[in-house]
């Protein structure tokens, strides 16, 4: 900071003004701020300046620098993207952006609803609306994402049942499976149940033979990672229950205006991601998880997040809200807990609540319908191309579907490279994740894809495959 501008006090550090600093040092009774560190043994003190890039004290210089870096990105609003696979491009209402950027929500932390009623109320409202969507009466505060909430749900099931084995579909998102293995691997045994190649449905015979007195939970995703809708979900729940295991369902909540609430087909625990509810993708930064259960002690006692409850006040019709399980999770129990609760993704819960309030029941239904119509159209258009099978799995789908290119001469990577030359991000390459599906990709279509966009994809694909 050798230049003139930097010599002035930094705009973020008000007391660095020399006269103020001198006054404060005098009151503390030290000659220089270095003297405040006399408690740190000299060998541990860094005797030099950190080697960092030159300061950009001027906000304008900083803006130019960071914008220069970002300019090297090509985002999904300039490209045409068909990527999904757990992070989805949806329309974000302006109201979501406005409320999510309000400084009061953005820069608050936590201090109870006597001084922060608004954020606690917004959190509780989100919980109430999310509960309606999934058919549950108990909804957690946020977890970090779907994968973390799935892992936490499995740990809950193990605690509740006293068992240590969990059964997952082999069609689970490989990313979520990695998270589950990382988080649950040390304490639980994770087994994968195979699926039927034609439909993507869970192999029920394999499930039956794997279920035992050791099974803590059967976990299912609806829609599945591969886009399909598990028609036998209710039966799978029954099978789990018959063995005393819990039935956990992971959901994409954007589907729940048209798809049944998981509780209605027997889910004991529902988990999933909030990102599709009015939250930008932000390179994966928009993910946020939730856990929902019936209002029963066994779930409330094992839910590994802080829980926000409504509390009536002395004034009729007035409520406050507060954390109610502080003493029962790691904040109170420390090592005697089964969670690593802490700051998670609350700002996204507030935004998701805004989204659900804007959409209402009608909006959620129309969203689901328009997505499914566009997805069906896209599958039909791609299926017309020589050598392309779409959808490659023959069950019903929501917004994603597998496209198989085995009949073409090119790999998915080559196809996607060709599409990118035409300004299109093709579907997620499944070749490594699901080798048994051959040269396949997972395409995602949402309400943001217009008919012309889908036609453009079909035309570009035809060119690339030629």
């Amino acid at each position: 900071m050798g230049d003139q501008a930097a010599k002035a006090s930094h705009p973020y550090i008000p007391n660095a003004v020399p006269t103020v600093k001198a006054q404060m040092l005098a009151q503390v009774g030290v000659g220089a701020s270095e003297d405040l560190y006399d408690v740190i043994p000299p060998p541990l003190r860094l005797g030099r300046l950190l080697d960092l890039p030159e300061a950009l004290v001027s906000e304008y210089d900083l803006r130019r620098h960071v914008e220069g870096l970002l300019a090297r990105n090509r985002a999904c609003d300039e490209l045409l993207s068909f990527l999904g696979a757990g992070c989805w491009q949806h329309a974000v209402p302006a109201v979501c952006d406005e409320i999510g950027s309000r400084g009061e929500f953005l820069t608050g932390y936590h201090d109870g609803s006597r001084s922060m009623l608004g954020s606690y109320q917004a959190q509780f409202e989100f919980q109430s609306m999310m509960g309606e969507l999934v058919g549950m009466e108990m909804v957690s505060t946020t977890t970090y994402d779907w994968g973390t909430s799935a892992a936490s749900s499995l740990i809950m099931a193990a605690q509740i049942t006293g068992r240590r084995e969990v059964l997952l579909p082999r069609t689970i998102s490989p990313g979520r499976l990695r998270q589950i293995n990382t988080i649950c691997g040390p304490t639980l045994s994770v087994r994968l149940i195979d699926y039927e190649r034609e439909s993507g449905s869970l192999d029920l015979a394999a499930l039956r033979s794997a279920l035992s007195q050791e099974t803590a939970a059967v976990y299912l995703e609806v829609p599945a990672y591969l886009g399909t809708l598990e028609s036998r979900a209710p039966e799978i729940g029954d099978l789990a229950r018959q063995k005393g295991a819990l039935f956990i369902v992971g959901v994409d909540p954007s589907s729940l205006g048209v798809l049944a609430a998981p509780r209605d087909y027997g889910a004991d625990i529902v988990c999933g991601d909030l990102q599709p509810l009015g939250i930008h993708m932000s390179y994966g930064g928009g993910q946020a998880g939730f856990i929902a259960t019936p209002h029963e002690d066994r779930f409330i006692a094992t839910c590994p997040t802080l829980l926000v409850s409504i509390l009536p006040t002395e004034r009729p019709g007035e409520y406050v809200f507060d954390w109610v399980n502080f003493e029962h999770i790691s904040y109170g129990l420390r090592a005697d807990s089964h969670d690593f609760a802490g700051t998670a993704q609350t700002i996204w819960a507030i935004v998701a609540g805004v989204y659900l309030a804007l959409m209402g029941p009608q909006g959620m239904r129309e969203l689901g319908e328009t997505i499914m119509q566009r997805r069906a159209y896209a599958a039909a258009r791609l299926g017309e191309l020589d050598g392309v099978v779409a959808p490659a799995l023959n069950g019903a789908c929501f917004k994603e579907f597998v496209v198989n290119f085995d009949g073409c001469r090119r790999s998915v990577a080559e196809i996607n490279a060709g599409l990118l030359e035409r300004g299109i991000l093709g579907g997620k390459d499944l070749t490594d994740e699901f080798p048994e599906l051959g040269r396949s990709a997972l395409y995602c279509v949402t309400e943001i894809h217009r008919k012309e966009d889908i036609d453009r994809l079909a035309t570009a694909l035809a060119e690339v495959l030629r």
């Binding site: 900071m1 973020y12 550090i13 007391n15 660095a16 404060m24 503390v28 701020s33 405040l36 740190i40 860094l46 950009l56 900083l62 970002l70 990105n73 090509r74 999904c76 993207s81 990527l83 953005l106 820069t107 936590h110 201090d111 001084s115 009623l117 917004a122 409202e125 969507l133 009466e137 108990m138 909804v139 994968g147 988080i183 028609s231 979900a233 729940l256 798809l259 049944a260 609430a261 930064g285 209002h295 509390l311 790691s330 109170g332 090592a335 690593f340 998670a344 993704q345 700002i347 659900l356 309030a357 804007l358 909006g363 328009t370 499914m372 119509q373 159209y377 019903a396 991000l425 008919k451």
Partner: protein, 524 residues
């Protein structure tokens, strides 16, 4: 001529927080109203695909629409704007009371930059050639944190401090597993004044946890650590300075003792705000550390997240970092997922990337001198405030008898005397402070070893006048405790809502539906 007001102290006698009496959103609206309309697929497309819902498996069809409120757009905007006005947030009120959380200024330019579509509209699976800008930013910021901590590599995947601590516990385990000692080394040592996650996260993945308590000077004694280590020690997970603001001067010896026993040392740097550019984790011998970017590095807290637990390790442990890592081959940035020794994935994608961008922008704005200045001013602010707080009747600094020397960036105090003399407790004082337009304070994590605790952390962003204001509010409330304790005990009087009815917490309800049911049963 320059204007200097001389730092006049303000006491907001007539402050009143917004109190909108705003109903719950589920109590609002009329059938048929709507806030947004999803785009219609169009008649042409619809006619081509036919009845798509009819193809949905019968058991998965929604039969009853979700009971969501039906509101017009202006109603939604007003509702949430009103709620936002009932939050005494950091950019509205002085939040320095929230010790251990480093409430500092969250620069608005960083918000503007993070909302660029060049970031918000990126998909995590995009071709690497289309995300070179964000990958470069992540890579460069990893290098900066390595310089700041002395570590060799960082990951930003953990989306909170607790998840960063979990990542460190997982890497500890992976390190010992690689040496064939996973089952033998099953104990993690932590301290009671470290964040609870330092005990909970290792326990969650199966470690036994040994907790050290402070000695007379406020930090654990070396002998206690020596008694705790053994061939079963996997590692130490510790904060320094701890939540009391007391820096453990023997920290390098602590690390040595654990290393000699074959364990690793993880430094929870949640309390790093006073030591940036002053002392480094690696220089004290630590193997791994995590910074909370939502605390020390200016990222806003979002009323409990998005957060980042930026986690760094020394070079012998880089193979264990979560995957993928961001790499640079000299001309292009890329993601490396083929890392067989990695502990795996902690969070999807690369974490809260938008928050990493804000932290990067903060460090770039300050530079090396600015970072050190921020640390120095945070410590100066704290010691300046401590002198004022300890002069208040009824208040005292924890461990002051045995350890009167400095606190770094925060300090834990006690109202023990005030409570004994007036019957006014720390939460009463907290609630009364709100009436003067400052955010209440954080008491302490559990257990409360310091009786009637309160923990203050005046980060570098607060003005001398604001420190004076905060101290004046504390002094005023303490005076009231002696002269008019009822006013304090029934506070807040000028805030957003009344107190919950007694024992309301006995029947918690996390949704409106659950609450209605409890009400039907006559329980609430």
């Amino acid at each position: 001529m320059s204007v200097d007001t001389g730092g006049k102290v303000i006491l907001r006698e007539h402050f009143h927080q917004a109190a909108w009496n705003e109903p719950l959103i589920v109590e609002l609206g009329r059938a048929g109203r709507r806030g947004v309309v999803p785009p219609d697929a169009g008649e042409e497309l619809r006619s081509q695909v036919g009845d798509v819902l009819g193809g949905t498996p019968v058991g998965l069809r929604r039969r009853q629409p979700p009971v969501l409120p039906e509101l017009s757009q202006p109603e939604v905007v007003r509702h949430y704007t009103r709620l936002s006005q009932m939050v005494l947030a950091n950019n509205v009120a002085v939040n320095l009371g929230l010790g251990t959380t480093t409430m500092k200024y969250n620069p608005l330019i960083n918000e503007v930059l993070s909302r660029s579509p060049k970031l918000t509209e990126l998909h995590p699976a995009q071709d690497e050639s289309t995300v070179q800008g964000i990958l470069e930013l992540l890579y460069r910021f990893g290098e900066m944190l390595s310089e700041i901590s002395g570590m060799d590599r960082f990951t930003f995947q953990p989306a909170g401090g607790s998840q960063g601590i979990l990542a460190n516990a997982l890497m500890m385990r992976a390190h010992h597993a690689a040496n064939g000692q996973a089952s033998q080394r099953d104990e993690v040592i932590t301290t009671i004044f470290s964040h609870p996650a330092n005990a909970a996260a290792p326990a969650t993945i199966g470690f036994k946890v040994i907790t050290l308590y402070p000695g007379r000077e406020g930090y654990p004694e070396l002998d206690a650590l020596k008694r705790a280590v053994s061939e079963r020690t996997a590692g130490l997970m510790i904060t320094n300075p701890e939540d009391t603001g007391i820096f453990n001067p023997q920290i390098a010896e602590f690390v040595r003792v654990v290393h000699d026993a074959g364990g690793l040392c993880a430094y929870d740097q949640a309390n790093a705000n006073g030591i940036l550019g002053v002392t480094r984790a690696r220089d004290a011998g630590f193997d791994m550390c995590q910074f909370n970017l939502h605390k020390t590095f200016s990222v806003p807290h979002g009323c409990m997240g998005g957060a980042v637990g930026a986690t760094g390790v020394q070079k012998d442990l880089t193979a264990f970092l979560p995957s993928p890592t961001v790499e640079f081959d000299g001309s292009r940035y890329y993601l490396d997922s083929r890392r067989p020794a990695s502990v795996g994935a902690i969070r999807s994608g690369l974490g809260n990337v938008q928050s990493v961008l804000k932290a990067y922008a903060w460090v770039r704005s300050l530079g090396a001198e600015g970072l050190r200045e921020a640390a120095h001013m945070a410590v100066l602010n704290n010691n300046y405030l401590a002198a004022k707080v300890t002069a208040i009747r009824g208040a005292s600094l924890s461990f002051a008898d045995e350890n009167p020397t400095r606190r770094l960036e925060q300090a834990r105090y006690s109202w023990e005397r005030l409570a004994a003399e007036t019957g006014v407790h720390t939460m009463d004082v907290h609630n009364r402070m709100i009436d003067f337009g400052v955010q209440g304070y954080f008491t302490s994590h559990h257990p409360w070893l310091v009786p009637e605790p309160f923990t203050l952390e005046p980060a570098e962003s607060y003005t001398q006048e604001e420190l004076d204001e905060f101290a004046a509010v504390l002094e005023r409330v303490a005076d009231e405790a002696y002269s008019d304790p009822e006013t304090v005990k029934t506070a807040p009087h000028r805030s957003t809502a009344a107190a919950p009815v007694p024992r309301a917490q006995e029947h918690p309800a996390m949704t409106w539906r659950a609450f209605q049911e409890l009400r039907r049963q006559g329980l609430v």
